[in-house]
Each structure stands twice: as structure tokens, then as C-alpha cells.
């Protein structure tokens, strides 16, 4: 801890004093450029580490920022600060326009999409002579002005401004990761299915992150233009986008400060190469040789140090690296007794909680659910049982919107929902658990529960970045602790979820679902993998939840538990309902006994066609 602060303090002091240290010996331009590149790399590191997407468009957004600022001030005489704001707006809008289809498609189109963007920006900058001045560039860009300091001329003020921006973006990135948005991104990385069923829209968060990385680049571009007073197309080429990627990967995409380290190394290397390469290779194109060095560096990093250099550096400080993970929360005062219990979603009258009307779901040739209809009354515990492969989980996936029915409709609390996306269905007050618990392994138990509160919290992406969420964070922590206390997990609150034993993972998932304060709770085989004692506890808990007014739909294999807790039971077999009614009625149903427990006493009498013996010889 002390060493970390020593390192930070030392770094800050060095940054402050660097201009005096260098004085006339070396130009301040290089540290300035390192800072600008660091801002570009921080944006990319956030995007790659948190959303798993590579952008090759940082140079394009940098260029868009620089040119927007330059054009608005030179041609229209705008105030430089307003122009800078406009530059950010242009870059983020463009990122939204390009990113929206890419993120919806979920593939890995972003890398080539941004590559194409880079190409098109270069083409426009060079060819639209009337607007951009073409290859000759645009001169006479006015400097920024700052209150009493007046116009900021020379490198020194921009050096401080840029590094201030670096520290600010580090801080904002850090804020983001510790916020509601950061947790949402962690959930999306862990399992998009779990994320959407908590009401988290994956596309929107990834898109916001992409737009943010573009905004970072645009601000850096604006500063560049004001410092130099001149812009030309050459600094914003594809080669810089590659260099920024190298910076991020070299520093480590899961380590935000690594971006600064990467920017410093790559920028210095670039200067070195630019003085060395022309001597080695005559005939120009030294920029291309530079690219080769980047290529090799990139390959070497991915293969030799896939986590990047930052973790190796911070090893010295003898504490877990400053990873882009939500860190353990400091203990907070004991929770207040008052925990809101009002369920989420619009109020409803006496409409059935679930109404399924002749729903069919096919997968290729397989009919998983076949013309199924049933109704769940509000406030009851409704169990769905049936042999493996009967279509039980498919029914849950249909209700939660993870799958669309092939035919048929269904309504929740009277709202037709069969066309809504899963995150919208969650916001109607529907929570679920999964057969295999889908918790976010690298978050704490507490943060996992806070994920369940996603729909109740209001902090948006921007507020998260600015760190304006303290009050809500404290409140949600307390509520989450109260829930954990109720499920007997309070002792593990600050542990990483991956350390929990299996049974506790189920409880954690249940706690997360309850944190949504659902009107309808769907449980997918909650008892499997639990011990007898844990099953008993679970049964009690389910009844308790119902008494609080939540409707429970329970898919379960443990017939005993179902018969014990359920008000009504639906028996599925091959996607069809073969019986429905009270546990007693269902238990006595002959068809149920034969379907659920398997055809009794299978006799092996059916003749087998073909000559087995000849085949057997071939087998040996």
C-alpha cells in the first residue's frame, strides 16, 4: 500500500517537474505527445478490456477531433472551447452510428468496421480540398484561452492540460469500473444471458463504451490542434491506430494505468525508430518499417506476456495489480432495518401472473415445446416437472424472452410480452435463476447482489464516469447486505464469488434475483446439487418469498420438494402438458407415473435387424 502511494506520488511529482528537468535539453513535445497518446490508449484499453472489442479507429476519432476543432475555429470563428465540445459531439455521434449495428450483431466486425472508418477519414481529409485544405492542411488554428491566463501559447500549458486529461481519464475510467455501469459490463462479459435477465441491455453498454473511447480520442485531437495551430492529414493515419493498439496491449488491456505505460514506451520507440530507420533503409517508407516493429511487438506481447507489462511492473508493489475489477468494498456501517420491498414493474390487477397460450417452440427438427397452454395465478407457487428434455427450461427461456416462440403468445400480468426483448421483460418485474448458477465470478458476492438491483439504481454511464454515485452506492450496499444476511451469506459478502461453494452459489443467485424485487420469480432446478438440509432451507425460503406476495414458478426435478411446496403442478412430457393440478392429483395420475419415472420393466424382446456378427468383425 505504502509503496503504491510512493509510486503514485513520485509519478505525479515527476510529471509536475518534468518541464524544469528537461528545460533546454530536450523538447517538451515528446512528453506532450506521450500524454495525448495515453488518452487514446486509455479509451481503447477500456473498450478492449471491458467490452472485448478491438477498435482500429482511434486515430480516425483523434483526427475528427482535431479537424472539427480546427475547422470550427478557423472557418466559422467559434470559440475554441465550444469547438472542442462540438468535436466530442461529432466523434461520439459517429461512434454511435457505426457502433450500433456492429454491437447488435455481437460478432467481431468492429475491428474491420473501424479500419474502414480510418480509411474513409483519411480519404476525406486528403481529397476534400475545399474544406480540409487537403494534404497541405489547415493553418491558423487559434490557441485555447483560460480565464486569467489568457491565451495558452507554447507547449508548456498544453503539456499540463494533456497530463491533467490523462489523470482525469484514468480517474474516470476507475470510477466507471466501480459503478453500476462497471458492474453491468462485468456481468455482460461473464454471461450476456444473465445480464439481460437482470434487465441490463448489453448492446447499449458496449456502445456507450465505444462512444466514450471515441470521445477521449476527440478531446486529445482538439488539444493537439490548438497546441500546434495547424492540422494536416498525415498524423491521423491508420499507422497511429495500430500504434495505439500496441500501446494498449503492451500495457495490458485489463490494466488502465498500463495504457499510460504503453503510450510512453511506444511513443519513445517511435521517436527512436524515426531517427534510426531512415539511416538503415534508404528510399523512404520508413513509416512502414515502423509498422513491422509494431507487428512483431504485438505478436511478442500476446504470446509472451498476454496480460501486458503493467502487472509485471506492479509486482514490485507486492499487492494485487490495479486490475480493472471492482475492488473489495470497505466495510460499511450495519444496514438500516428499512429495506424497500415494493416490487418493480407496473402495478397489476387480478390478471394472471403468467398466461401461456398454445406456444410451440421448434429447434430445427426438434419440437421442444408443443402447443403448450397454462396459466399461473398471482401469488401462487406453480411447479413445472417432467423428465429431462421435456422442455421445462425452454418454457422458462420463452417466458423470460431469451427465446422467441415459433407460434403462440403469452402475457405476464396481462401484458403481451412474446415480442419484447429479455431486458424489457425483466423490467416488468421478472427475475430468474439458472440451472448452472450464472454469477459473475470476478465480482464480490456483494456486487453480484447489487447487479440484481440494476433496474432500481439510476446512475447512468456519465454519472458513473464522473463518480456522482456515492449516495446510491452506499444505499445499494446496505440493501445488498441486508439480503445477504437474510440468505445466510453475510459472512461471505466481500469474497470473490468464485470462492463460494456450490450450494452458496445457488443462494447467491437467488439473492441476486430477489434484489430485483420481482413480482414473478422463476427458479430453474434450484435444488439440484444441494444437500438434504439445504433443500429444506430452500423450500422454507420459497414459501417465505411467496408469502411476501411474489409469484413463484419452479422448475424442479426433485418431485418430493415440488409436492411439498407447490400449490399447483404442471407435468410436461415431450413439450406437452400431460397433467395439471394440485400435488395430490398429479401424484396419482397414471400417465405421470409412467412418463416421469420411465417405462417400467423394459423387456428386451424387439428383434434387431441386420447382421450384427459381420459388423462386429469389422469393429475388432
Amino acid at each position: 500500500m505504502n509503496r503504491t502511494w510512493l509510486l503514485r506520488g513520485g509519478g505525479l511529482l515527476l510529471l509536475l517537474l518534468l518541464p524544469w528537468v528537461l528545460r533546454d535539453r530536450l523538447s517538451l513535445t515528446i512528453p506532450l505527445v506521450i500524454g495525448l497518446h495515453a488518452v487514446l490508449a486509455i479509451g481503447l484499453t477500456l473498450l478492449a478490456g471491458q467490452a472485448g472489442q478491438v477498435s482500429l479507429g482511434q486515430a480516425a476519432f483523434y483526427g475528427i477531433g482535431a479537424y472539427t476543432a480546427a475547422l470550427l475555429t478557423v472557418r466559422l470563428g467559434w470559440d475554441p472551447w465550444v469547438a472542442l465540445g462540438m468535436a466530442v459531439l461529432v466523434a461520439t455521434s459517429l461512434a454511435y452510428a457505426l457502433g450500433a449495428p456492429v454491437m447488435v450483431l455481437r460478432g467481431h466486425y468492429l475491428v474491420l468496421g473501424t479500419l474502414a472508418l480510418n480509411v474513409v477519414v483519411e480519404v476525406i481529409l486528403r481529397n476534400w480540398q475545399d474544406l480540409t485544405g487537403g494534404a497541405n492542411g489547415l493553418s491558423g488554428v487559434p490557441p485555447l484561452h483560460l480565464g486569467p491566463l489568457g491565451e495558452l501559447r507554447g507547449t508548456l500549458p498544453y503539456y499540463y492540460l494533456t497530463w491533467g486529461l490523462v489523470l482525469l481519464s484514468l480517474r474516470m475510467g476507475h470510477n466507471l469500473l466501480r459503478s453500476r455501469a462497471g458492474r453491468a459490463l462485468a456481468a455482460i462479459r461473464a454471461s450476456e444471458v444473465a445480464a439481460v435477465s437482470l434487465g441490463i441491455p448489453p448492446t447499449r453498454y458496449k456502445l456507450q463504451l465505444f462512444a466514450y473511447s471515441a470521445a477521449c480520442a476527440a478531446v486529445a485531437g482538439g488539444l493537439y490542434a490548438y497546441e500546434l495551430g495547424f492540422v494536416s492529414p498525415s498524423p491521423f493515419g491508420f499507422e497511429l491506430s495500430i500504434a495505439v493498439l500496441v500501446m494498449s496491449v503492451l500495457g495490458g488491456i485489463h490494466h488502465l494505468p498500463g495504457a499510460v505505460l504503453g503510450a510512453a514506451i511506444v511513443t519513445l520507440l517511435r521517436e527512436l525508430l524515426r531517427s534510426l530507420l531512415p539511416q538503415l533503409f534508404r528510399g523512404g517508407a520508413s513509416a512502414e518499417y515502423e509498422a513491422v516493429v509494431y507487428g512483431l511487438l504485438l505478436a511478442a506481447t500476446v504470446i509472451a506476456a498476454p496480460t501486458g507489462l503493467w502487472p509485471l511492473l506492479t509486482y514490485w508493489t507486492r499487492r494485487p495489480a490495479q486490475e480493472l475489477r471492482i475492488q473489495l468494498e470497505r466495510p460499511v456501517p450495519p444496514p438500516p432495518a428499512q429495506v424497500p420491498t415494493d416490487p418493480i414493474g407496473p402495478a397489476h390487477g387480478s390478471d394472471p401472473a403468467v398466461e401461456v397460450r398454445s406456444v410451440t417452440k421448434r429447434f430445427g427438427g426438434l419440437v421442444a415445446v408443443d402447443g403448450l397452454s397454462f396459466t399461473v395465478r398471482p401469488g401462487e407457487i406453480y411447479a413445472i416437472i417432467g423428465p429431462n428434455g421435456a422442455g421445462k427450461t425452454t418454457v422458462l427461456n420463452l417466458i423470460t424472452g431469451l427465446l422467441r416462440p415459433t407460434t403462440g403468445t403469452f402475457a405476464l400480468f396481462g401484458f403481451p410480452v412474446h415480442t419484447l426483448p429479455p431486458e424489457r421483460i425483466a423490467s416488468l418485474g421478472v427475475a430468474r435463476t439458472f440451472q448452472t448458477p450464472r454469477v459473475v465470478w470476478d465480482l464480490t458476492v456483494l456486487d453480484n447482489v447489487r447487479l440484481g438491483m440494476h433496474l432500481h439504481l439510476r446512475t447512468g454511464f456519465l454519472t458513473s464516469l464522473l463518480g456522482l454515485n456515492r449516495g446510491e452506492e452506499v444505499r445499494s450496499t446496505r440493501q445488498a447486505e441486508a439480503l445477504l444476511d437474510r440468505l445466510g451469506l453475510a459472512a461471505h459478502a466481500h469474497e470473490i464469488a468464485a470462492n463460494l461453494p456450490f450450494g452458496s452459489l445457488r443462494l447467491l443467485e437467488l439473492a441476486r434475483a430477489l434484489a430485483l424485487r420481482p413480482r414473478l420469480l422463476l427458479l430453474d432446478e434450484p435444488a439440484s446439487g444441494l444437500s438434504g438440509e439445504q433443500r429444506g432451507e430452500l423450500a422454507r425460503l420459497i414459501q417465505e418469498i411467496r408469502e411476501e406476495g411474489t409469484t413463484v414458478v419452479l422448475v424442479e426435478h426433485d418431485v418430493g420438494m415440488v409436492l411439498q411446496v407447490a400449490d399447483r403442478v404442471l407435468v410436461l412430457h415431450q413439450g406437452r402438458c400431460i397433467a395439471e393440478g394440485s400435488p395430490a392429483v398429479v401424484r396419482a395420475h397414471p400417465e405421470v407415473i409412467s412418463a416421469y419415472l420411465g417405462p417400467g420393466g423394459v423387456q428386451v424382446a424387439t428383434p434387431i435387424p441386420g447382421d450384427l456378427r459381420s459388423g462386429q468383425r469389422a469393429q475388432a
Binding site: V102, N127, A285, A291, Y294, G295, L298, A299, V302
Partner: protein, 298 residues
């Protein structure tokens, strides 16, 4: 020339370019569907074929010889790229695979620069003579060469994927990787085959396009990108759709380039790419099942 003639001219030129993009697009699809890597270095394999063919022909080789040797060399480089770059990180996330192919792109381009320098190389048309007239369009003999060669290559590919067990094994790997392994099919062997095949296709595309343009060490990026634009229409998974997408893109590019100043030609790819992505995204949203794959693997 009447407007109709002009249109025919543009469309013919577009189909010729589209055929070349199709070869590149198919390479991207086979690599993506078998090894899950978006290959940013696909165009470099074409540039290698182009430069090699130009050098061989200017050294006195017959065109047919160059047409065989250059794709073979590209195929070998593709194989090497797989063995050196992708195989070691085979099980890593798609993010890592993309970073590796970007590294490949840079390294290959650097090698081409070292070997060939910055000068452009010319390749004479495969046969001399006045252009042909087809349906009102004037078609250069080289264009006929391109179309015929591409057609032969596509037919061979069709036979390979449709009628040989190796080809079907490649498709099987793309359809269900787990099942393929359960059948004893080796993912590494299939990955190596996919990259070799993509290399050969890239090399062929490079040789074919050189007489129309010129061969330079840095021609790869744009070529690869244009193949990608066509392949996106197919979601990077379907071979016939990829061919169709590339042909369509070739035509659109040719038509739009006819009305734009020449400097903007490379920008068309971006516009079409965004439109293709939008269309696919709208279709995906309408189908609705966006997280379906993950549910089914439960």
C-alpha cells in the same frame, strides 16, 4: 455512349472486381468459420501472390506458370501464418486472435516491403488483343480471364466442399466444433487446411487483379477490406452468400465510383459496409433471438 451502355460498362467492371473480392471473401469466411479468427492479413496474401507473379513473368516465366506458383506460395505463407501465429493461441478469446492477425498483417506487409520495395510492379494482360464486346459492354480480355479463372476456382471449391470428405470435415468444424472433435477430426489439421486454402485463394486474387491495377507491397489492406465487406453480408459463415455479397459490392462500388471523384473510390467500401451491417442488424433484431446461442449451450 448512351446511359444504358455506360451502365452496362460499369456493371461489367463491377462483376469483374466482385469476382476478385469473392476469392478474398471466401478466404475470410473459411478462416473465420473454422478458426474463429477475423483475418486482417487476408489482403497481404493477395499482395504476395501479385508481387510474386509480376516478378516471375518479368523474369520470363509464362503466365500459366505464375498463375500456379504464386497462389501456391501464398498458400504456404497462409499455412505458416497459422502454425506460427494462430495455433499457439488457438483456444484464446477472439480478441486475442484478432490482435494476432493484426500483427500478421503488419509483419507480412513489412516482409513484402523488404523483398519488393516501394515500387509498383506491372503484370501484362494474360492474352493480347482488342477488347471483346458483350451485351453492349466493352470487356477487356483480362476481364474474361478473371471471370473464367474465378469461375473455375469457385467450381473447384464447390466440388471440394460439396463432394469430398475433407471439404465436408471443414464445414463440419464450422457447424459444430465439439461434434467434430468427438468424431476424431483434429481441429489443428482443419485450421491448417483453412489457412492454406485461404492463402491460395488470396494469392489467386492477387495475380488476377494485377494486370488491371499494379502490384504494390501495400495493396493488401484495401483488397482484404473489400473482401470483408462482401463477406459481412454472409455473416462470415455462408460461402454462397459471401460470393453473392462480394459480386454485389463490386457492382455497387463500380457504379458509385462512376459518379464520385476518383480520390474517393476507397471510401465506398466504408459506406457499403455500414449499410450491410445495418441491414444485418435490423434483420437480427427482427428475428429477436440474440442471445440464443448461449442459452442452447447450457
Amino acid at each position: 455512349m448512351t446511359l444504358g451502355q455506360q451502365l452496362a460498362q460499369f456493371i461489367a467492371a463491377g462483376i469483374v472486381n466482385g469476382a476478385i473480392y469473392a476469392l478474398l471473401g471466401l478466404g475470410l469466411v473459411v478462416i473465420y468459420s473454422v478458426t474463429r479468427a477475423v483475418n486482417v492479413a487476408q489482403g497481404e496474401l493477395a499482395a504476395l501472390g501479385a508481387l510474386l507473379a509480376a516478378t516471375l513473368v518479368s523474369a520470363g516465366w509464362p503466365v500459366e506458370g505464375a498463375l500456379l506458383v504464386a497462389p501456391t506460395a501464398s498458400a504456404l505463407v497462409g499455412l505458416l501464418a497459422y502454425l506460427a501465429g494462430i495455433r499457439p493461441v488457438r483456444t484464446a478469446s477472439p480478441l486475442v486472435l484478432i490482435i494476432v492477425t493484426i500483427a500478421m498483417h503488419l509483419t507480412l506487409k513489412g516482409l513484402l516491403l523488404l523483398l519488393w520495395g516501394t515500387d509498383p510492379y506491372a503484370l501484362p494482360p494474360f492474352s493480347q488483343g482488342p477488347p471483346l464486346r458483350i451485351l453492349g459492354a466493352v470487356v477487356a480480355r483480362q476481364s474474361v480471364w478473371i471471370l473464367l479463372t474465378a469461375l473455375v476456382a469457385l467450381t473447384v471449391l464447390y466440388g471440394f466442399f460439396g463432394y469430398t470428405l475433407y471439404g465436408k470435415a471443414l464445414r463440419a468444424c464450422a457447424i459444430n466444433d465439439l461434434a467434430a472433435r468427438l468424431m476424431g477430426i483434429r481441429p489443428q489439421t482443419m485450421g491448417a487446411m483453412a489457412w492454406t486454402l485461404a492463402g491460395a485463394l488470396g494469392g489467386l486474387a492477387g495475380v488476377l487483379i494485377t494486370p488491371l491495377t499494379l502490384a504494390t507491397y501495400d495493396m493488401g489492406l484495401m483488397l482484404g477490406l473489400k473482401g470483408f465487406v462482401g463477406a459481412v453480408a454472409a455473416g462470415l459463415t455462408s460461402y454462397p452468400l459471401a460470393v453473392l455479397g462480394c459480386l454485389l459490392f463490386g457492382i455497387v462500388e463500380s457504379l458509385v465510383a462512376g459518379v464520385l471523384p476518383s480520390g474517393y473510390r476507397d471510401a465506398i467500401a466504408f459506406g457499403v459496409l455500414v449499410i450491410a451491417l445495418l441491414v444485418r442488424a435490423v434483420l437480427a433484431l427482427r428475428q429477436g433471438v440474440l442471445v440464443g446461442e448461449e442459452v442452447l449451450t447450457e
